[in-house]
Every structure is written in C-alpha cells, then in structure tokens.
C-alpha cells in the first residue's frame, strides 16, 4: 500500500518533496496558502507578464523546479489557497480554505512552511511605508508593483542585497543600503565560500547590479529612527560600534518613501510545536526550531520537517532536503529502506551538506549583536498587533515575569493576529539580556497556527 504523504507549503522544499514522494509511488497531498506554487523565493507572478528581476541562474533553477512540479501536479492532490491550522499526534492535520475545513489523517506529514521575516524595533519602525524587504519583493514578483519611488534598505544577510538589486532592475531608485555587517567577513570562511560558490556568484552578481546603479552601500550602519507625519519621509542611520550601538556623530539622514528592513527570520514552526515536536532555540536560524535527524524526522512519529522551517538554510538546501524528505516519507515505516536512502540519494545528501556549510557561515550575519536591542526607546511598539511598547515589556520583566507565557499574559505581547511570529523573538531577546537564551521556553503552542473563521472550521468536509 502506498503511503499517504501530506506536505504543507509549496516552496522549494515542499515542491521537491512532492515530486520525489510522487516518483516513489506515494499518494501526495500538497497544501499551500498562496494561489500559486513557488513559495517566497520562487514566487510566481499573479499576472500574465512576469517582471524578470532575478538573475538568469536563479530564474533557471526556478523554471526547472516549477516544470518538474507542473509535470506531476495533476498526479497529486494539490490544493492552493489552503491553510494548515492545526497538527496533532497521529499525525492529524487540520486544513481549510476560506469556507471549509477538513481533517486529514495521512501516514506522514512534511512541514515545509518556510520562514517569515524579522525586524528589530526602533523609533518609527511602525510608520506606514516601513516594510520588510520580502514584502517589497513579493509586490514586485507577484504583481509587478514597485513599492515606492525612493527606497532605503536596512538589514543584514543576503536578502536585503538581492532585493535591493531586484528593485533597482525594476527601476526603483534605491537610495541607500545600510548593512549591519560588511560582506567581506565571509572571507574568513574560505571552505564555506567554495562550498557555496554558486550562491556566492549570485551574490556578486547582485552586488554588481548595485554597483551599476551606483547605489550607496553602507556597511556597519544601523537605523536610528524613521520619521514622517503619516508616512515615512526620511530615515536616520548611523555607524555602529561593532556591537550594534550607534556611534554619536556619524548620523546621516536619508530621504525616502519606503524603508525596507530585514534582520533575519522567524521559522514558521507552529505546526511542529503544536504536535509536540522537540524544539531548540537558535535565534540566528529563526528562533524555536524543530529538532530533526539527517532524514528530516522529528521526535513526533509521522512528522517530518524540511527546508527553512527546520531552521534557516536557504533555497538550495531546501530543495535537496525536500527530495530527501519526500523519499523518507514514502518509506517512513520501513526503517531499513530509510537508512539506505543516504546511499541511494547520496547526491542530495552531499548537496545539502555542502550548502549547509555555506549557510552556517552566512548565519554570522544573522547573529544580532546585543546593541541592537538598545535601538528601541521606551515608547517604541514591540508587539504591533496589540500595541505593546518596549517600556511595558520592560516593566513586566522588572516585576519578575520572566517567562514568555507570563509576559504575554501580563502585557498581551504575542496575543494578536500574528500569533507572536513578529514579536516573540524580540521579546525573548529583551528577556534574555544577560541570561542564556537556551533556557527560554516558547509560548505554549496551541491551535490555530493561522487565523481562521468560525464558519470555515464548522463547515467540515468529511472525506
């Protein structure tokens, strides 16, 4: 009997998993929140003419994966516009579209839900016009919309550079890119650079685009504040001292109508946590991440995690890992067959570990120095959904509430629409100043992973 494999998320990991699991004869269901497959990195345009702002090599990878996926998509149960909102032991996965829900009881669930972006709060970061760089990228890729006329980008890691280049290619005036760390610090990891040479080359191509467009690249710069009456009009940036603290006297004011931020990611690990998967706290990889073995298996029977939702690892790893997860899922209950996979799919395993060593080196850029937690002032909102300020959170901490659950109950931080995805890592950082953050327990994971209407829950389709 072929196993029924349900995959959550149709990004690189999820699509690769679907292709592989199908190839191995599994019955595959693939769910994705979006109207079209691709995830963030391979996002497809919702309109007919796609703005081709990516690099040729990147676009080719995207085209290859999408055509592989399209070739099998009619052989699987592919459901766009579907949200997985709860996962229980079993595994038992609850999914819904806008109107209906369904309880799936497959043999194996592969969580490939990716990450969401993370910003560090500072005065003015909640002004309209301050966005995540991924948001700017989404508008461009899916709708061909230029997010603004004059864009300042601030952040760390690779994504801000890629998006700055893509925006420039689309004709947006990128006024300045303020990076937390100089990219040359990668040079101390020659092996990692070699292992990730294809990614590095893409990185250089993007840097080249920035050079061609004569864009002001600033290393070791941080945002001090965003100003504007009802929309961001300018941003003040300054050099930092190496620990994230701004150096007085180095301030610059830059006019803009969009400020795009990215200081790392938060993994979408709610489903895994809800099912009781063992987790560990790794801020530079995206917060609380599910612990997996080399076969993507978690502590919870029948639950696999692949790609970025298992800790930030990039699209190359995600694709290789998706293939592995798809194969493992298809043989999940045959231990011997699973252990043979490391031989049988040695290419995928090798590719994954090679890119992972590069990703490890890249993670230094997402290791936020302690000084960044001083950017916010007392009135800065940390939890946007519930409008909780830095001062309120500090008061709670000073009153002796040191667990995230207690701070949530005391201040409402994390109780809102986003379920804490936007603020919890930042609250955790504020709590763990001077303490080992490994001891921090996440908020109790509970359904629902995404907001879902009462009628959609009630209207349950019985398969």
């Amino acid at each position: 009997m072929p196993l029924h494999v349900v995959i959550v998320g149709a990004g690189p990991a999820g699509m690769a998993a679907a292709i592989e699991a199908r190839r191995r004869g599994s019955k595959v269901t693939l769910l994705d929140e979006m109207a079209r497959s691709g995830g963030q990195i391979f996002r497809q345009s919702a309109i007919d003419s796609e703005l081709r702002v990516g690099l040729p090599s990147e676009l080719k990878r995207k085209a290859d994966l999408l055509s592989g996926f399209n070739a099998i998509s009619d052989q699987i149960d592919y459901r766009a516009n579907h949200t997985a909102y709860a996962l229980f032991e079993g595994p038992e996965l609850h999914v819904s579209d806008d109107n209906c829900s369904e309880v799936l009881k497959p043999d194996v669930v592969i969580i490939a839900t990716g990450v969401c972006e993370r910003a560090v709060p500072f005065p003015g970061w909640t002004l309209p016009g301050v966005v995540n760089v991924g948001g700017a990228q989404t508008l461009l890729k899916s709708q061909g919309v230029k997010i603004g006329e004059r864009v300042v980008i601030a952040g760390s890691g690779a994504l801000p550079i890629a998006v700055a280049a893509q925006l420039s290619k689309a004709g947006v005036h990128v006024v300045a890119v303020a990076m937390l760390y100089p990219m040359r610090s990668l040079l101390v990891h020659p092996y990692a650079l070699w292992a990730g040479r294809r990614v590095v080359l893409e990185g250089f191509s993007y840097l080249n685009v920035l050079r061609q467009h004569d864009i002001l690249m600033l290393s070791r710069y941080v945002p001090l504040r965003a100003d504007g009456s009802d929309h961001v009009e300018s941003v003040q940036i300054a050099q930092h001292d190496g620990t994230g603290r701004p150096v007085p006297g180095t301030e610059k004011r830059v006019g803009c109508d969009i400020l795009a931020l990215n200081y790392g990611f938060t993994v979408n690990s709610e489903l895994a946590a809800m099912a009781g998967v063992d987790m560990t706290y790794r801020p530079e990889q995206g917060g609380w991440i599910p612990i997996t073995d080399q076969f993507c298996r978690t502590s919870c029977s029948g639950v696999l995690v692949a790609g970025d939702s298992g800790g930030l690892r990039g699209a190359w790893v995600a694709q290789a890992e998706g293939r592995i997860a798809g194969a493992v899922a298809s043989r999940y209950y045959d231990e011997r067959a699973v252990s043979n996979l490391s031989q049988e799919m040695s290419q995928s395993f090798k590719e994954r570990s090679r890119h992972q060593s590069f990703q490890k080196a890249m993670q230094q850029f997402l290791q936020l120095p302690t000084g960044v937690w001083g950017w916010a002032d007392e009135e800065t909102v940390v939890c946007r959904c519930e409008c909780v300020t830095q001062k309120q959170i500090q008061t709670a901490i000073d009153n002796g509430h040191t667990s995230l659950n207690a701070i949530k109950r005391n201040t409402r931080a994390g109780m809102g629409w986003c379920g804490g995805r936007m603020c919890m890592q930042n609250v955790a950082a504020q709590v763990s100043v001077g303490k080992p953050s490994e001891d921090l327990q996440p908020m109790t994971p509970r359904p629902v992973a995404r907001p879902i209407s009462l009628q959609a829950i009630r209207n349950q389709t019985i398969p």
């Binding site: 229980f88 207690a406 109950r409 109780m415 509970r446 359904p447 629902v448 209407s453």
Partner: protein, 380 residues
C-alpha cells in the same frame, strides 16, 4: 534556609492575591508571603471567559458576586491601578431553550428581586433585539441583568499583584510547595526549590490542585479538576453586547472591551488536569457557537487554550478553616475570577476571627460530612 511568615498563601491566582491584599490591609504588621509554582496568571485566571454575573439561583452566590461586581466597578481606585481593568458592564444574557430552564429563570428572578439584583425576564424577541446575531429559533426566553459583564482577568490579577506588593506582601513566583508538615503550632512548608517556609497560618488557594497538598497532612476533601478549553477571536466592532450563556449549548460567549470575543464551550472530558488541546474541540465549539450565534460566522479565531476548572460536589466554593487548625482553604468551584474580591475580604476576616465566620460558614467543609450541600441550580 527557612523563612518565616505569619500567613503563607499558596497560589497567586485571584483568590490568593485578593486574600493577600485584604489581609495585608487588615493586618498591616503581619508578614504575608504568597508563593506560586508558576509565573503570572499561569492557572485558571489566565484561561477563562472573563465574565461576571450576579444573576445566580442561590442567595450565597448572588451576595458574593454583588459585592465583587461593586468592587470591580472601583477596582482602579481601590487598588490604585489607574489603567483600570477594562470592566465592561453590558449585561449578561442567559438563554433558555426549554421550559424547565425558563421556569428556573423565573424562580431566580424572584430571588433577584429580593436581593436587589436588577434582572429582567425576556421574550425570545427581546433577546434577539439585544443580540441581533442571535438565532432565536427554539428559544423559550432569557434572563438579563445589565450590571453583569466582563473585565480583563489579566489586568485584574496585575492590579492585585501590584497592590499586594505595595502593602509589603511578598509574592514569590516559580516556587512549588511539595509538602506541608505540622511542627508544634506552626507549619513547615517544604518547597521544591528548597526555600522552606515556617508559617503560623496557611491559606491554600491552589483551587483544583488543593488535594495534592491536603493529602500531605492527611486531609481528604472532594475537590477535583476538569479540563476546559476556550477560544478567542480577532477584535471586532461590538457585535455581542452582553455576555451570552446558553445552557443548551453549554457555553459562555463574551466580547471584551478590546473587541475580541472569548468563548468557553464545555466539551465532555474526564476529570483530571489534562490541559492539552483536543483535536475535535474547534469544530465542536464552532458548531455550538454558530448554532446559537450564527452572525459570528465570519469572525476569525486567533487562538485556543486549555485549562482546568475546580469542581466540588455541589459546584460551590469551599471557604474556611480545614479540620487542621490554622490551615485554611479557598477553592472557587469555577467562579474564581468573579468572586475573588468578596472571597478575599471574607477570608481575611476568617483568618483572624475566632470561631466560624458567618459568611464563610455555609461554604465550610462540614457540608460534605453532613450532606448539607448547597447546589447552584444553573451553571454551565
């Protein structure tokens, strides 16, 4: 190191902290220590529907809740908590879908008149007018009291905590009591963190978990826990003005000041302390809610939770001294938030009165021996 206390209160929920605050007010010289095994609002107070009502079917409950609601009305001032506790007095609508429930409403109404509770009996049409999203089909009638409502349990607990600390009450979180030992006329309280406390009097406010500690001194009281789950929706403009209770659907639905709708829908679960989410809860709860309040269909659920309520044989509080001298107990029987102001006052008096406190006496433990139970006719 053993610390000493005149009064040790175990449990920093609304009962524990209200008792601490009232006691500190009454006995400013007494050394009062409150310990809790968890952190802020880790028990039932952090997991309830936030509602309060005085329209009960038993005079004892009416009195407790009338006094408490009067206190909630001035909580900001009384506890010096300028932020306030988000009290929202838009009333409480009890729904009867059968004649016998409505007959009980009528009997209650007579009792309410006697006790100055401004309740009214409503026709199904009047209920529908009050709550336009209500399905009035099959409805026999309702009972409404405009003084009832809801408030934020979190703000209430925070107000109590800060007020108690200002009166020099020592509140220690993350301190778990493992055992009580009698030592002469005092108690030695053994904690897991090995910070033992010697106390002259103990007040046990651990609600459903009280038997764990009572056992260590050989006391057996019929207190059990029962899992309950709830859900909260996104904030919405006012759509359910009063708190709505349906006995047919076994739920309380309560829209709070911030606009979120809280719903606690009872689901058959065995007694115990299993706080895990059950896979079928959400679909069951949404069916119950939308059968009664179909107009809420489009509103999105943000989160669910699970907690434990306390149960006693008559679902009434247990208040007073146990058979062991100087060991007191206050168990809420699923009304902890809404009765905590009055219970705090009563217990602060009971702790120092010689002999039985007249208001606590009916809630005493003797009733389980004598069989003089005091059941409330209508609870969800």
């Amino acid at each position: 190191m053993t610390q000493t206390a005149d009064i040790l209160i175990i449990g920093a929920g609304p009962y524990g902290l209200s008792c601490a605050w009232w006691t500190a007010l009454r006995e400013p010289k007494a050394k009062i220590v409150v310990v809790d095994e968890g952190d802020f609002a880790c028990g039932g107070i952090g997991r309830n529907a936030s509602s309060m009502r005085m329209q009960w079917g038993l005079e004892l409950n009416i009195k407790l809740c009338k006094e408490s609601i009067a206190f909630f009305e001035e909580a900001g001032k009384r506890l010096d908590y300028p932020r306030g506790i988000d009290l929202r007095q838009q009333g409480y609508l009890l729904l009867a879908h059968d004649e016998s429930t409505f007959a009980q409403f009528k009997a209650n109404h007579e009792l309410h008149k006697k006790n100055d509770v401004p309740s009214k009996l409503l026709t199904p049409e009047e209920c529908g007018k009050l709550v336009p999203v209500l399905n009035t089909e099959g409805l026999v009638g309702g009972s409404f009291c405009h003084k009832d409502g809801n408030a934020s349990p979190f703000l209430w607990l925070d107000a109590l905590l800060q007020a108690a600390r200002r009166l020099n009450v020592e509140v220690r979180m993350n301190t778990r009591v493992d055992r009580l030992i009698t030592q002469g006329d005092r108690f030695l309280v053994v904690t897991r963190e090995q910070q033992d406390i010697s106390a002259a009097k103990i007040l046990l406010c651990t609600d459903w978990a009280a038997p764990q500690l009572l056992q260590t001194v050989g006391i057996d009281l019929p207190i059990t826990g029962m899992p309950k789950q709830g859900l909260v929706t996104e904030a919405w403009p006012e759509i359910v003005a009063p708190v709505v209770i349906s006995f047919k659907h076994d739920f309380a639905v309560s829209q709070v000041l911030r606009g979120n709708i809280l719903a606690v829908v009872a689901q058959d679960r065995p007694d115990g302390d299993d706080t895990r989410s059950t896979p079928d809860y959400l679909s069951f709860a949404s069916r119950q809610i939308l059968d009664c309040l179909p107009g809420l269909a489009a509103i999105k659920v943000l989160r669910t939770w699970g907690g434990v309520i306390s149960k006693t044989p008559d679902m009434q509080a247990i208040l007073g001294e146990t058979e062991l001298e100087n060991l007191y107990i206050a168990v809420s029987a699923y009304k902890g938030f809404m009765t905590s102001p009055a219970v705090g006052r009563i217990m602060s008096e009971a702790l120092f009165d010689s002999g039985a406190h007249p208001e606590a006496a009916p809630f005493g433990t003797e009733r389980f021996k004598t069989g003089n139970l005091i059941p409330e006719p209508l609870t969800v």
